[in-house]
C-alpha cells in the first residue's frame, strides 16, 4: 500500500485585510516622501511668485496708518523682507545699514518698502533691539512662524528676500549685508525695471 497525503490548504490572510494593510503602508510611504520633499525644497524659488502673507507690526509701528501690512498691498513696490532676531549677532552687523539705506530711499520717495520680521524672538527683546538700532521701517514678529513657512526657511538669521514690483522673488541674501552699497546693489536693478 502506498501512503497517500492530501494537500493541506494554507489558511490565507483575508484579502480585505491585505488590501487595507497595503493601502496603509502606501499612505505612510507617500506621507514620508512628501515630508522629505518639503523639508529639502523651498516652497518658492527665485523667479516664482511669493504667496501673500500678513505681517502684524510691533506696537508703535504702522504702514500707511495700518498695524498690519500684507504683501499683496505692496504690489508695484520693491519689497525688502529681512528676517532677524535680537539674539542674532550677525543681524546687528547689518541693522544700522538697513535702516540707513531705508531712510535714503524714503527721502526720495522711492518705490521700495523694507519689512523687518523678528524670527523666533521674544517681544520684549525685539522691541529693545529695534530701539537700540533706531529702526523705523515696519517691523513685526513672525506670528506662528507663518511667514517663515511661506519661504520654508529653516536656515537661520539674518536672511533677506528681495521681491520685485510684480511680487516675484528675485534674490535671496543669506547672512548679513556687508555694506550699504551691497544692499543697494540688490535693490536698484529692481527699482529701474
Amino acid at each position: 500500500m502506498t501512503e497517500q497525503t492530501t494537500p493541506v490548504p494554507e489558511r490565507a490572510v483575508p484579502i480585505w485585510v491585505q488590501i487595507i494593510v497595503w493601502i496603509l503602508l502606501s499612505g505612510l510611504l507617500v506621507l514620508v516622501a512628501l515630508g522629505l520633499k518639503n523639508a529639502q525644497n523651498p516652497i518658492i524659488r527665485v523667479g516664482s511668485e511669493v504667496p501673500d502673507f500678513n505681517l502684524t507690526l510691533f506696537e508703535g509701528y504702522t504702514y500707511e496708518g495700518s498695524p498690519v501690512v500684507s504683501l499683496s498691498a505692496l504690489h508695484g513696490k520693491v519689497v525688502v523682507l529681512n528676517f532677524w532676531a535680537s539674539w542674532c549677532k550677525p543681524c546687528e552687523q547689518e541693522a544700522a545699514e538697513l535702516e540707513e539705506v531705508w531712510r535714503s530711499y524714503a527721502e526720495v520717495d522711492a518705490e521700495v518698502v523694507f519689512l523687518g520680521v523678528a524670527w523666533t524672538d521674544t517681544p520684549a527683546n525685539s522691541l529693545e533691539y529695534l530701539q537700540k538700532f533706531e529702526v523705523t521701517y515696519p517691523n513685526g514678529p513672525d506670528l506662528g512662524s507663518r511667514i517663515s513657512a511661506v519661504f520654508n526657511r529653516n536656515l537661520g538669521v539674518p536672511e533677506t528676500y528681495l521681491i520685485d514690483k510684480e511680487g516675484i522673488l528675485r534674490a535671496v541674501k543669506i547672512g548679513p549685508f556687508a555694506s550699504n552699497a551691497e544692499i543697494k546693489s540688490f535693490i536698484n536693478p529692481l527699482l529701474s525695471e
Binding site: P9, W87, T120, P123, A124
Partner: protein
C-alpha cells in the same frame, strides 16, 4: 493708640501695603518652575532639543519669557498658548491633537495592534497545525475515525482484488 486711632490704622495699612509690594517683588519663579514648562517646548533654532536643556541664547531668552509670564501669574496653558500663537505649533513637544496631527496619534497604535494581531495568528497557527491528520482526533465526533478506517480498508481490499 487710643489717642490717635485713625493715624495708627493708616500706618498699619501703609505698612501692610509696603510689605505686600516687597513680597510680590520677591516672588520670582524658580528655575524648576520655569523648566517644568520649558521641557514641554522645543528649541526654535536647534532641532530636537528641549527648551529646558538647550544652551543657545534664543532658548535662554525663551526661558526668561516663561519666567516673566509666570511672574505675571499666567498659567501653564496660557504660556504654552502664547508660544504656539507666537512661534507656531512646532514648538510643542506634543503636537496638538487636531487636523493632520491625528495621524501620528492614530497610526502607531494601529500598527502595534496589527502587529499583535499578526503575531497572535502566527502563534495560533503554530500551536494548532492545520494538518487534519495530526491532531484532529480529540475534536472529532465519536465514530469518525472508525468510519475512516473502514473506508480505507475497503479501498485496500479493492486494490488487492484488482491485483
Amino acid at each position: 493708640m487710643k489717642r490717635y486711632p485713625l493715624i495708627s490704622l493708616l500706618v498699619l495699612i501703609l505698612a501692610l501695603g509696603i510689605t505686600g509690594t516687597v513680597l510680590a517683588q520677591d516672588v520670582r519663579p524658580t528655575d524648576d518652575e520655569v523648566n517644568a514648562i520649558a521641557k514641554q517646548l522645543y528649541c526654535p533654532v536647534c532641532e530636537n532639543t528641549p527648551l529646558d536643556v538647550c544652551p543657545t541664547e534664543a532658548c535662554r531668552e525663551w526661558r526668561e519669557q516663561i519666567r516673566a509670564m509666570l511672574a505675571e501669574g499666567k498659567s501653564e496653558e496660557e504660556i504654552k498658548q502664547f508660544f504656539v500663537e507666537y512661534y507656531g505649533a512646532r514648538v510643542l513637544s506634543e503636537p496638538p491633537r487636531q487636523g493632520f496631527n491625528w495621524v501620528i496619534y492614530i497610526v502607531p497604535p494601529l500598527v502595534i495592534l496589527a502587529g499583535a494581531g499578526i503575531l497572535f495568528m502566527g502563534l495560533r497557527k503554530w500551536v494548532t497545525p492545520d494538518d487534519p491528520g495530526h491532531d484532529r482526533g480529540a475534536k472529532e465526533a465519536p465514530g469518525t475515525a472508525d468510519e475512516e478506517n473502514e473506508y480505507l480498508a475497503r479501498i485496500e481490499k479493492e486494490l488487492l482484488g484488482k491485483d
